[in-house]
């Protein structure tokens, strides 16, 4: 894992170097998104960026109990996410929890998207919660408790392949380069 992490960091740093060498080519260098994709396309993130129902577990199976998105991403009328998901992990970590547990908005679903499409979604204000600048786009991933939960998910759930601190560094490099996406 450490080796792959180092490789990703290297890719990110090389990509930044290339972007700078090319005189801030802006959106041309999609390699900067590679380390970000390795995090946001991990099951801790993907499982809740779904369309009609959350997924769960590392293999991303449909959530048990026929849980659905409901009208506002918090579940059906009387089977809400908060019926089980508290503000913290509970039951010795078996039941994951963070404040305001819910699905990502429908416009931000990543179900069926490849990393290029996820990247394009993230920088599209029509599909990212009307976030227009790079700083606005990466704010959610820097500070949202639901995102931070991915690094302390409880039980034996896997965590993203780099630390949150390293993830933030990658995000800031990507935003500074104009949010380039893979070709």
């Amino acid at each position: 894992m450490m080796r792959s992490l180092a490789a990703m960091l290297l890719v990110g740093l090389c990509a930044l170097g290339q972007a700078q060498a090319a005189g801030n080519r802006g959106r041309d260098d999609g390699a900067l998104f590679e380390p970000i994709a390795s995090v946001v396309m991990s099951p801790r993130c993907l499982n809740c960026h779904q369309a009609e129902a959350p997924h769960q577990k590392d293999m991303g199976v449909l959530h048990a109990q026929q849980v659905v998105r409901g009208k506002d991403g918090h579940g059906s009328a009387v089977l809400q996410c908060a019926a089980c998901h508290q503000a913290t992990n509970t039951a010795q970590g078996k039941v994951p929890g963070a404040p305001n547990w819910h699905l990502a908005p429908l416009s931000m679903r990543w179900q069926g998207l490849d990393k290029k499409a996820v990247c394009e979604q993230m920088r599209d204000p029509a599909r990212n919660g009307n976030r227009k600048t790079g700083a606005q786009v990466i704010e959610h991933m820097k500070t949202d408790p639901l995102v931070l939960w991915a690094w302390s998910p409880g039980a034996d759930r896997t965590i993203p392949p780099m630390s949150h601190e390293q993830f933030v560094q990658m995000l800031e490099m990507w935003a500074a380069a104009g949010m380039p996406c893979p070709g």
């Binding site: 048990a64 109990q65 026929q66 849980v67 659905v68 409901g70 059906s76 009328a77 009387v78 089977l79 809400q80 908060a82 019926a83 089980c84 508290q86 503000a87 913290t88 509970t90 039951a91 078996k94 039941v95």
Partner: protein
């Protein structure tokens, strides 16, 4: 000392902040109508109402219940919807072993308050977190329709 609003009454309990609410209800307060099933929010036997929403008491820290209105099976018959559900349950003779039924009834009452005339799909989406190992699901569905006046 922790103050809780349970079935409209304020009660004080001695408990650690992270003690599951179900333990407080059953062991500290002797309210054993709410059942322990899996202890991990997988079966629904411990369903109570928290501000009207069905919630699994086995995974809710008691500290998270402070300031909320808690409703349990012991008081559900004091409401019109609860009475209708109880009557329908008895008329159709829903339970077999009965262990899951207090959770089923709490979920059904919350459903009928939110959606007075639920479709089968509404019932599925509300009740699918409440398991019944005797398989009384067809009778649960029928009783919900009956309580809604659409049998």
């Amino acid at each position: 000392m922790i103050s809780l609003n349970i079935n409209g009454k304020l009660v004080k309990v001695e408990a650690e902040a992270d003690t599951p609410l179900l333990w407080v209800l059953r062991d500290e307060l002797g309210m054993a109508g709410t059942k322990y099933g899996c202890g991990a929010a997988l079966c629904g036997a411990c369903t109570i109402h928290v501000d009207g929403q069905p919630t699994r008491a086995c995974v809710m820290p008691v500290s998270a219940a402070v300031g909320k209105k808690l409703g349990t099976i012991e008081a559900v018959g004091a409401t019109p919807v609860g009475q209708r559900v109880q009557r329908a349950w008895a008329e159709i003779d829903v339970p077999q072993c009965g262990y899951c039924q207090s959770g089923q009834i709490m979920a059904a009452v919350a459903l009928l308050r939110a959606i007075p005339k639920p479709s089968d799909k509404d019932i599925d989406q509300a009740m699918s977190g409440n398991l019944c190992r005797c398989g009384t699901y067809p009778r649960i569905r029928a009783a919900i329709h009956k309580a809604a006046g659409q049998s």
